[in-house]
C-alpha cells in the first residue's frame, strides 16, 4: 500500500450538507455589515505599528519633558520664595532695630 495514495483518498474533498450555499448567501444578505471586532488574522500593518510606536514615544518624551520643566520651575519658585522671605525678614529686623534705637534715645 502507498501511504500517499491512501491519504489522498482519505482526505478527499467532501461536500457539505445540501443547502449550504443558500444558507451562506442568506446569512451574508442578512448580516452584511462587518462586526466591530478586529479580525484575528488580519495582519497588522507595519506602518500602523510604526506610527503607533512613534506616537507613544512622542507622548512619553513630551510628558517627561513637561514633568522636568515643571519640576525645575517649582525648584526655582521654591528658592525664590525662600530668598524673598529672607529679604523680607532682614528688612523687618532692620526696621525693628531702628525703631528700638530711636525709642532708647
Amino acid at each position: 500500500m502507498n501511504l500517499d495514495d491512501e491519504l489522498r483518498a482519505a482526505l478527499r474533498r467532501e461536500d457539505p450538507s445540501p443547502g449550504f450555499a443558500q444558507r451562506a448567501v442568506a446569512r451574508a444578505k442578512s448580516n452584511p455589515e462587518p462586526t466591530m471586532a478586529i479580525p484575528i488574522f488580519q495582519p497588522v500593518r507595519i506602518s500602523q505599528m510604526i506610527w503607533a510606536a512613534a506616537l507613544a514615544a512622542m507622548l512619553v518624551i513630551g510628558l517627561t519633558a513637561t514633568s522636568e520643566y515643571r519640576q525645575r520651575k517649582a525648584e526655582r519658585a521654591g528658592r525664590d520664595a525662600v530668598l524673598a522671605l529672607r529679604i523680607t525678614a532682614e528688612k523687618l529686623n532692620m526696621t525693628r532695630d531702628k525703631v528700638l534705637k530711636r525709642e532708647e534715645n
Binding site: G78, D80, A81, A84, L85, A89, K91, T95, V99
Partner: protein
C-alpha cells in the same frame, strides 16, 4: 444708543478692574537701577508659582518645622514681589524715584504702620486691611547704598512671619492693627 452701550461697557470694565488695581502694588520707576547695582534681586511670584514653591518646599523640606511653617505661610499668599539693589557708591538712586510707589501706598486702604527717616535712610512698613485681616503688606527700605522694596499680597498674620526663626524673621513689635500707627 451705541455711545450709551460703549459707556456702560467701559464703566463695567473699569469697575471690575478697580479692586485688583487697588490691591496690586506696582513697583515702577526702578527699571534703570539694576544696571548700576553691584547686586540686584528681582523676584515676582504669582499664586500659581507660590503654589509650586510650597509644593517643592514641602517635598524637599523633609517635614522640618521651618519647612512646614514656610509652606503654610506660602499657601495663604497670592503674590510676592521683591526688588532689591545693592550699590558700590552712594547717590545711585534718588528718594524721588520711590514716589510712584509711595503714591500708591497713600491711596485708601493702605496704612503706614512704621516709618523711620534719618540721614537719607527711610524704613517704612505698610499694611492693607480688609475685614480686620491683613491682605497686603509692603516694605520700603532705602539706605545710601541699598534699596529694597517688598510687596506681599494675601492673608498674612505678621506674627506668623515673626515665627520663621530659621529664616531670621524677627519678632517685631507690631502695633495694634486697628490703629493707624505712624511713628516718624
Amino acid at each position: 444708543m451705541r455711545r450709551i452701550f460703549l459707556i456702560t461697557v467701559i464703566a463695567g470694565w473699569t469697575a471690575a478692574q478697580l479692586p485688583a488695581q487697588l490691591l496690586q502694588l506696582r513697583i515702577t520707576g526702578l527699571d534703570g537701577l539694576a544696571s548700576k547695582a553691584k547686586e540686584s534681586v528681582d523676584i515676582t511670584l504669582d499664586s500659581s508659582l507660590l503654589q509650586m514653591a510650597g509644593g517643592f518646599l514641602a517635598r524637599n523640606g523633609k517635614g522640618s518645622k521651618d519647612s512646614q511653617d514656610i509652606t503654610s505661610l506660602l499657601t495663604a499668599l497670592k503674590a510676592i514681589t521683591v526688588r532689591s539693589f545693592e550699590f558700590n557708591e552712594t547717590g545711585q538712586y534718588r528718594i524721588e524715584d520711590l514716589e510712584p510707589i509711595r503714591a500708591q501706598l497713600r491711596t485708601p486702604g493702605w496704612s503706614k504702620i512704621i516709618s523711620t527717616q534719618k540721614q537719607g535712610e527711610i524704613s517704612e512698613i505698610y499694611t492693607r486691611m480688609e475685614q480686620g485681616k491683613v491682605v497686603g503688606f509692603a516694605i520700603i527700605a532705602a539706605e545710601p547704598k541699598e534699596l529694597t522694596i517688598v510687596a506681599i499680597e494675601g492673608t498674612i498674620d505678621l506674627k506668623d512671619l515673626s515665627k520663621l526663626g530659621g529664616l531670621g524673621v524677627p519678632s517685631i513689635p507690631i502695633p495694634d492693627q486697628g490703629k493707624k500707627g505712624k511713628q516718624e
